[in-house]
Symmetry: C2
């Protein structure tokens, strides 16, 4: 793969997605403020989280639309922004379930509400308040996501057609998260099961479904949708594998998450599963013992990194990423310009990223 | 008020709402089963919860439509069923936030997933798994609620008009739940604040907004919508005040919740606020001390019941319920038959209920 690792030229799109989100938040702030000023922290938690993010899902949705001959318009930007709200909901609830401390370099939303409680010396355990605040903030994002989708300025019959993808995406993500959780409590070491979780929790949701949504909204023919399907599955898997590598080897200043966070959370990733297949019995025991240890220190993380890299699993996963990236790029042949070039560059952006 | 306390004749509607929900669940089961059989417990948790419920919100939505001249049709039944899914989501997440044990006479959804974990001897704390399962089950209900609404067989312009009510209802309920939680951690004793929470968490959401949604979908004129508004606010408050009384004095076999559950959860209801205004300083200290005590036994509950009834607060709240019920019935004058009679009977059903 010789494409340059350059930022995808979606700066215009990013700005427009931000604006769509800002407009929605301003409307919601009116609703909340008319109820009670006590709701300001709820609004702020959502607004702050939405400021960050790579906006990759928005880009896939927009370029799926353009690639199918859809003209640039504000309606598709609203749908792209709706996906960012859905992602925010998923992150807020996911962080509660994983009991994560940070997200996008800031305290996770449930930690934020716990701090608010603690700072005010309110009654009861701050963690309970944090949990409740985060559940409600996530619920608001789910509802607002839907509001943006339904209110998008696109022909009603196109929005209705896109529903099939939009609805399935939401259901499948939640199912993927359930399966992910199940893998952790089953302490599964199966590469096959780990790839199934990736498929539902990430591959479909991060790339394939946003792209298919854009394409379906634009009325793409079946042939193009199946091109999107192949590209989306391949790149989606590569995207998640990159996430898994970053979750162990990533730089905290870039990822916004503590180093080795996935190890402490006991994530059953493909990277871990491949390591367990390849490393010595002694290393496997150590990995099994330390995985999911909330108090694992920097030395412990470094030790596990050595096991993972030393087993060759890191190389195996990097090869998987390259292979799937190439498959994604090859699939793009039937897509017309300029969408094709942007989707090619999005492969690089999604897999060579450091955050 | 001399109306007989008879079951509202919405049996036909109940059956049709059940059918709309069953059809949706069958479609979703196909999606889940095609992903993994491990998802069966997630599906079952939602299905079982949806079997129960008084379907009052569905009835208000349907009769709001009929009262505005809407013809009986399946489309409005789908929207009514969507409200039941939203209610299920709210209950699942609310039970997590309140750490409730039971709902509709069965274990709360998070308890159910914790038991599944425990029964299988899975890794980690069962409570963490329970929490995650319940968050995801609630998220699925939110998404499916939206799916039912958007897919309802009604003219697109009517569905688009109803969105304003549907969207605001969802946002305001979540805000109401946040304010409710805040009252608990602030240990607020203000009757005024307790009534604000009722307004957003319950009055608007349980009666007024479903009714306005039905009316708006049918294209009701402004005059009728303002009639619905008055009826809805008054009955909504009475409805919640009845809930508060049942939360302290209700029969567990009817409510499906342990006796005095609201006392253990430390709910800052109007009933509690009025008691604190009226009772002796010694009783007030006891009430303040015991309210929110998770381990309060039957004797403790009986003691608090005596304080609440003895202070006259129970009578005050019963008078408020009667007063608001009468206000609701008076407001109905401009509504045409048969909707008017049904809405009158719904006042009795919503306020004289034992569950």
């Amino acid at each position: 793969m010789t494409l340059p690792v350059e930022p995808v030229d979606v700066e215009g799109l990013r700005t427009r997605v931000h604006k769509a989100l800002d407009d929605l938040l301003a409307r919601q702030a009116d609703v909340l403020e008319s109820a009670s000023e006590d709701l300001v922290p709820l609004m702020d938690a959502v607004s702050d989280l939405l400021r960050g993010g790579k906006r990759l899902r928005a880009a896939f949705c927009y370029w799926g639309w353009r690639g199918a001959g859809g003209d640039d318009c504000d309606g598709i930007v609203s749908v792209a922004a709706a996906l960012e709200l859905f992602q925010a909901a998923a992150l807020i609830h996911d962080d509660v379930m994983d009991d994560s401390d940070t997200r996008r370099g800031r305290p996770a939303v449930h930690r934020r509400f716990a701090s608010l409680h603690r700072g005010n010396g309110w009654l009861g355990p701050p963690e309970d308040f944090g949990l409740a605040g985060a559940i409600l903030a996530g619920d608001l994002c789910l509802s607002w996501c839907d509001e943006l989708y339904a209110g998008a300025d696109l022909p009603p019959d196109r929005l209705a057609a896109g529903r099939a993808v939009f609805d399935r995406m939401r259901t499948e993500l939640m199912c993927g998260q359930y399966l992910d959780m199940l893998e952790q409590v089953l302490a599964s070491t199966s590469v096959e099961r780990a790839r199934l979780v990736i498929l539902f929790k990430s591959a479909k949701y991060s790339v394939q479904q946003p792209l298919l949504l854009g394409g379906t909204l634009a009325g793409a023919p079946a042939g193009l949708l199946s091109t999107y399907d192949v590209y989306g599955r391949a790149l989606g898997e590569a995207f998640q594998l990159r996430d898994d590598v970053l979750g162990v080897f990533g730089d905290p200043t870039a990822t916004g998450k503590p180093a080795g966070d996935d190890l402490r959370e006991g994530k059953r990733t493909v990277l871990v599963a491949v390591t367990l297949e390849r490393c010595s019995p002694a290393s496997a025991s150590m990995l099994r013992r330390d995985l999911g240890d909330r108090h694992l220190d920097a030395e412990g993380v470094a030790r596990l990194r050595e096991v993972i890299a030393g087993s060759g699993a890191l190389d195996v996963v990097e090869s998987m990423i390259s292979e799937q990236s190439e498959r994604a790029i090859s699939a793009l042949e039937p897509v017309s310009e300029p969408a094709r070039s942007v989707l090619e560059r999005l492969v690089v952006a999604a897999t060579s990223r450091t955050q």
